[in-house]
């Protein structure tokens, strides 16, 4: 079980795409920094909802004016980010 951390916008970088091509069903995905802009893309948002565990760093979303509608995507703060890293066996930062 891996936590995949992505930090770049999917509109200009392919890190999220590369990650999604390789992510395992039981893995977790954490969107941080510019990666939270990915939620503005309806198609991508729908795709993300099919994953078991998607997290968004609250501070990064709030800073960018991104509102997260209640869904399978979970908003977490830094304390929860720390715990999440411990819940998964390892963290890969794309």
């Amino acid at each position: 079980m891996i936590l995949h951390k992505v930090a770049s916008s999917p509109f200009s970088h392919r890190a999220l795409d590369h990650c999604l091509q390789r992510i395992h069903a039981t893995d977790g995905l954490l969107l941080t920094q510019d990666a939270v802009y990915g939620l503005m893309d309806k198609e991508l948002s729908t795709k993300l909802q099919q994953l078991e565990a998607v997290f968004v760093l609250k501070e990064d979303a709030e800073a960018r004016g991104i509102e997260i509608e209640p869904s399978t995507i979970q908003l977490i703060n830094y304390e929860q980010f720390v715990e999440l890293c411990l819940k998964y066996e390892k963290v890969i930062s794309w």
């Binding site: 951390k5 930090a7 941080t32 920094q33 510019d34 501070e59 990064d60 703060n77 830094y78 304390e79 980010f81 720390v82 715990e83 890293c85 411990l86 390892k90 963290v91 930062s93």
Partner: protein, 129 residues
Amino acid sequence: MSSFTLLVTSAPFSQQNAYSAYRFANAAVQSKHKVNGIFFYQSGTINGSNLQITPSDEFDLFNAWKTLSQQYQVPLMVCVSAASKRGITSTEDARDADNPHFSLSAPFESVGLGDLANLINNSDRLIQF
């Protein structure tokens, strides 16, 4: 209680990564976890430059790192090779190169990658920013 090594590979200001790493480190120590060390590599080494001047109305990451390190005994380790290439040198490294200037001072330490291997060996998780 768990322990972390943070690997910071991006420069301050140019990218958000170092700020995220700082927030993470803070949250970890607040939650009573141990941060064994912050290891600065690649452009991340620029975080150690003591020549940084931050406008007073912007977040001063350099001093925030120092405070974190002093308050929670978190070592701030800077890879000497990656740093030297980017103009980040301790007094000793500067002297070895006959350079009159230096830009790295305590609590940031000039170390080798072997120290990162040690940090990783003693930590539950390695998180890269």
